[in-house]
Amino acid sequence: MTITDIDFEAILRTFVAESEEHLTRMEEALINLEAHPDDQKSLEAIFRGAHTIKGNAASLGFAKVGEFAHAFEDMLQRLRTGVLSVTQTRITLLLRSVDALRQMIPDAITGVEDLQSNQQSLFNRLTNADDNEMPTAPAPRRNQSERRTNLVGRRREDVQAWIERAHTVRVDIAKLDRMLNLAGEIAVAHGRLRQVLETTVRQGSEAWQAQEQLERLSVDLQEQIMKVRMVPVGPIFRQYLRTVRDLAQANGKAARLGLEGEDVEVDLSMVEHLKDPLTQMIRNALDHGIEPPEVRRTNGKDPCGLVTLKAFHDGASIVIEIIDDGAGLNRERIAERVRLLGAAIDPDSLSDQELYKFIFEPGFSTAEKITDLSGRGVGMDVVKRNIEALRGTATIDSRRGHGTTITIRLPLTLAIIEGFGVGVGDETYILPLHCVRECLTLPDDEGHHANRCGVIDLRGAPVPYVRLRNWYALPGQRPARESIVIVEENGMQAGLAVDHLYGAHQTVIKPLGTHLKNLPGIAGSAILGSGRVALIVDVGSLMREAAHATPLNANQEW
């Protein structure tokens, strides 16, 4: 490859990425325009997008793309000047034309210049604007994988912002991962250096000052790298504007998507895992949640349903809510299904929240599918799996006739955890700091026996605890005094009896590899300042496991 080849490829890449950006914005604006036909700003935005694509395509020699964009622009011009009015049919036509452009651009780059038949008919319809006949061809499916690769890293850029664009760079995620890894390793190496200094050099000396400066800088570096990895949820959310519109139309319903908290940022690596669950939940909301317009009218609701995607920060978590104002969950039906599935628990004794959790069970959703019951559940286990893979949780709240809210809680980042170090024998374990409530000395009477589990009196309340040494069957002797860390997860409190408390610090999470992932009670690993590997405890799953152990087994001394 010569330099010019590389340059040209870079230009093409930019063209593809930018066009995708414009098309997404145009899509968004079109949907907005449908709701507010008089919105000149949306019209302008669509027009600008088409115009830029036209110009770029022409300058790169993609004549057909240019022509198509020109026809698109022409049609908009007529809408802008009021020659034509904004109708649903025309919006649909324009949306399909956006799809067509999305296909044509990669096609043109790979050398396919000619219009496909559906593209040609769209082209004809664009140029012949009086054609008001309802288009019959099904909308071409958008190529999701392509969109996925192009999604990341694009935001805020606008057609007008050429200057700004010159200051942004697209970076491969793998490079960012590598940078974060290196920053983590620097922190580890630095920890070692400090240990050496502690034993060899007196505090306050020049070496110590240099060390302190190094510490500040490496913490800064890590923070900066973390920041680079964060992307706003807005562009992810906005993709669903179109999904909601198309699904609603296909189901004979009317619905729109409301967005809140578009500026909230999530870790880049989460974006991938969020797409499937969001799609699934939005689909469910439209299939089962939002009622047909006539039903909604009868019930005194706005005939157009509202699905809201909302993101906000809550402590160390990011919360994403999918809210619909539809029919809500049918408690009786879910209870019936739970009974049918032969669960050991009597559904009637459960609170709504507890009962709704069953929707996330894999068997539950299959059963619903077979009987074709109208209730949620199809594929909700996929949602749960994806969310759990992100160390997050999902809960459902619903009011009959008023709608359903699914709340997803995710850690701020997948790469770094605020951890609390505890020691058992030679091993160090890290507890996620957000679960840690307080630390106490294990009462003497509990220190006598060496059971795996026990109960302590925490200011009058009985709190169960797990002795990590016995639970994990670790070798070595118990110290005379043990400590207990009170942790809380999902509203349940428990204690973890350990030998030592090492305190809180930030740690970079390292995956445990193919063989060791999905271990119960272990969320991952981290490398300590000493260079040792410490395991990160999955407090929630440990507590669940402990709750399932029978008292006999639980107290048996291994």
């Binding site: 030679d426 670790l474 445990l512 063989h515 490398i527 395991l535 152990a549 291994w558």
Partner: protein
């Protein structure tokens, strides 16, 4: 692909494990490190000794002696960890295996590799590339990709042996509820 590779490559690393000598293709060996601190990973089969920090990466360390049904390796001054690159469904995974001692790197042209006998070897024939000979003694050439394949590691995990009882019992107690 393994045929072409074995035709080209003639070097093997030999090591001792429970007083037996084994060999593994040098192309699979990334490095050999001293046995250091290993972090125990609870609730895993006994032949997973734990994980180590290999320059910022967390790498599992396995005890093949236990996996092959012998008693657990005793740690001595000469114990080391052979870091191998294993091909797993097309993905390269780095793992460590404990060796009582590492002996030598030997040249072994394909013509000198003997087919293993139908039975009588200490480990399953499936795990072997063949047998080699040095100083009038046979040694087993391991097909490390097969020994450490995901399926293999899973199957062994469910077989309780003397060391595995604890894990197995624990699993049972959880299933019983």
């Amino acid at each position: 692909m393994s045929e072409t590779r074995s035709a080209e490559q003639t070097q093997y690393l030999t090591f001792h494990l429970a007083r037996e000598e084994y060999a593994v293709s040098i192309l699979k060996v990334k490095e050999i490190i001293e046995y250091g601190t290993i972090t125990i990973v609870p609730q895993t089969p006994p032949w997973i000794r734990g994980v180590i920090n290999l320059r910022g990466n967390v790498v599992p360390v396995l005890d093949l002696a236990i996996k092959f049904g012998m008693s657990q390796s005793l740690i001595t001054d000469r114990t080391c960890i052979v870091i191998v690159e294993v091909d797993m469904d097309g993905e390269t995974t780095v793992m460590g295996v404990i060796a009582d001692s590492v002996s030598q790197v030997i040249d072994l042209p394909p013509s000198d590799i003997l087919a293993p006998p139908a039975f009588g070897t200490r480990i399953k024939v499936d795990f072997l590339h063949g047998m080699g000979k040095s100083d009038k003694k046979f040694f087993l050439i391991l097909d490390i990709d097969k020994v450490l394949s995901i399926d293999e590691l899973k199957i062994t995990a469910t077989l309780p042996n003397s060391q595995g009882e604890m894990t197995a019992l624990k699993e049972l107690s959880q299933e019983g509820t």
